[in-house]
């Protein structure tokens, strides 16, 4: 576990090292946030007070939170593992005494937590300073449970990152399906459009998927569109997906390592 904290520190230092890139990232997220909010406001002005259980104010906060947690989504596997695959240094990684899955999970978690400490605070700070109608508003009552759910969401996202890293055993160039999956995943997670704006049936189905547990679930709780019962069932689902994805991750890794060993590393 101590290794985990040190990994988070290094990932964080790396993030801070490219300060200008990080600031550019925050700027882009703020611009996109502004545009989306204004578009959704226009749609709400058509005489809709609530859409899919979400009022305009909550939709505004949802957009800011989804922009702030953008880097938290599992866009790809662990970068340098992909490079290791290509030039064969993966053999050293396999030879390490630590359990491979725990190590990769810890690195994935570090990769996902680092932006949380750099991007999210900046975006949220800016979002709170926005003028009326664009401002991020959260009820304190849901803050703690929402934060815990966000933590769970990050664990699920880390588990997904570990699985994506595992697929690099098969598509060495990393250009394969694991480039497309994150994009579909982020759409189903409510990153492109809040799930509340999806039609009824589709929305229910998407919320069952692990992608929603990464983003839509914690955000719904944070903006307060759910009552306690649904909040708990959402958290229950997050726990289920965390367990399921971790198990799947272990299976993928074991198969990958075996295949890799057979090939002579």
């Amino acid at each position: 576990m101590r290794a985990f904290f040190s990994m988070v520190k290094t990932a964080l230092r790396q993030q801070l090292q490219y300060r200008s890139a990080m600031l550019a990232g925050v700027f882009t997220q703020l611009v996109f946030g502004l545009i989306l909010i204004m578009v959704y406001t226009a749609f709400y002005d058509n005489g809709y007070s609530v859409m899919g259980g979400m009022a305009l104010g909550q939709a505004v906060s949802y957009v800011w939170l989804s922009q702030g947690t953008y880097r938290m989504m599992p866009w790809s596997g662990i970068k340098d593992v992909e490079a290791m695959m290509r030039d064969g240094r993966i053999a050293f990684e396999l030879a390490r005494p630590l359990d491979l899955y725990n190590m990769w999970f810890a690195r994935s978690m570090a990769m996902r937590t680092a932006p949380l400490l750099t991007n999210l605070p900046l975006v949220l700070l800016a979002a709170c300073l926005m003028p009326e109608g664009l401002r991020l508003t959260l009820q304190p009552a849901w803050l703690v449970l929402g934060a815990l759910s966000l933590g769970l969401g990050m664990l699920v996202s880390a588990a997904m990152t570990a699985i994506l890293t595992g697929t690099y055993f098969w598509t060495i160039s990393g250009q394969g399906i694991n480039r497309i999956l994150p994009m579909i995943g982020s759409f189903c997670a409510g990153n492109i459009l809040p799930l509340a704006f999806f039609p009824e049936g589709v929305r229910f189905a998407l919320r069952m998927l692990p992608f929603a547990s990464m983003l839509d679930a914690p955000l719904r709780i944070l903006v307060g569109t759910v009552d306690v019962r649904t909040a708990l069932s959402v958290i229950g689902l997050q726990l289920f997906w965390l367990a399921a994805l971790t198990a799947l991750g272990r299976v993928v890794l074991r198969a990958g390592v075996k295949k890799c060993m057979v090939q002579g590393g």
Binding site: V31, I35, Y44, G52, I180, M183, I192, L193, F197
Partner: protein
């Protein structure tokens, strides 16, 4: 110009060497633009119309801006990754060749994968036009074509400015993407949706509004708080930005060659 086509062909033949990753990046580009399109569709489905603009009309707006951005980014793909060219020091070799620097940089990367976005643009435009309740004859078609053409010029101008800026500072270039991609996402909706300063930004500073919002308002017979002639400003905006882009590029090259780099 023949050098431009020959360089582009060379790059394409190079890409064909890695067919797998080429197909993959086309699909990736397609899916990411389908994502944006789906947002538009789903909003239309859940909310119905948006103010006085029907779904079909918004689709036409989306189509024009997406097609022009897709074509411009395919042609100007070399400019997207130009900061890498500078960092690797390859620009010296460009200067050592007896033909224009811009031709070589643009030709260096004729990115066919950007056409993934083109398909969603074309589909959106076609779907929109088919469902328009107002007449859409030859004149309207010509007007739309003109808007798309001006859009390509305008986006090429923006990409040249982005490329030219690399001569001054390589850091922080990602912020520019916010303007290009943000602008495209924004201009897919009628500009009247946006509040004062943001609307003015995309009307007067980066005039994406002139490409689709203003002309289409006239096409669909909507009254506009702006004078009538603004609806025909698209080619002017496109030409002006292309000229600005060339200026910035030339100034950038001059700076690179004057012991500044």
């Amino acid at each position: 110009m023949s050098v431009y086509f020959k360089l582009s062909l060379a790059y394409l033949r190079g890409q064909m060497q890695h067919l797998g990753s080429f197909a993959m990046s086309v699909t990736r580009n397609l899916i990411s633009s389908v994502g944006d399109a789906l947002r538009l569709v789903l909003l239309g489905v859940s909310f119905g119309a948006m103010g006085r603009w029907t779904g079909a009309q918004i689709a036409v707006l989306y189509g024009i801006i997406t097609i022009s951005f897709a074509v411009a980014s395919a042609l100007g793909a070399g400019l997207f990754s130009f900061s890498g060219v500078i960092r690797r020091g390859d620009f010296d070799r460009v200067l050592l060749r007896p033909c224009g620097t811009l031709t070589q940089v643009l030709g260096a990367k004729f990115d066919l994968t950007r056409f993934g976005r083109l398909t969603t643009g074309v589909v959106g435009l076609a779907w929109g036009i088919a469902r328009l309740d107002t007449p859409f004859g030859a004149a309207q078609a010509a007007m739309t074509a003109l808007c798309v053409f001006s859009g390509v010029l305008l986006f090429l101008g923006i990409l040249m400015i982005q490329g030219g800026a690399c001569f001054w500072t390589i850091e922080g270039m990602e912020a520019f993407n916010a303007i290009t991609y943000g602008g495209v996402a924004m201009a897919s909706y009628p500009l009247e949706v946006y509040k004062g300063w943001l609307r003015d930004l995309f009307l007067y500073v980066i005039p994406l509004g002139c490409l689709n919002y203003l002309p289409c308002a006239v096409l669909f017979g909507k009254t506009l708080p702006y004078p009538l002639f603004t609806a025909y400003l698209a080619p002017v905006a496109g030409g002006a930005y292309l000229a600005l882009g060339l200026l910035v590029w030339r100034a950038g090259v001059r700076r690179y060659r004057s012991a500044g780099a």
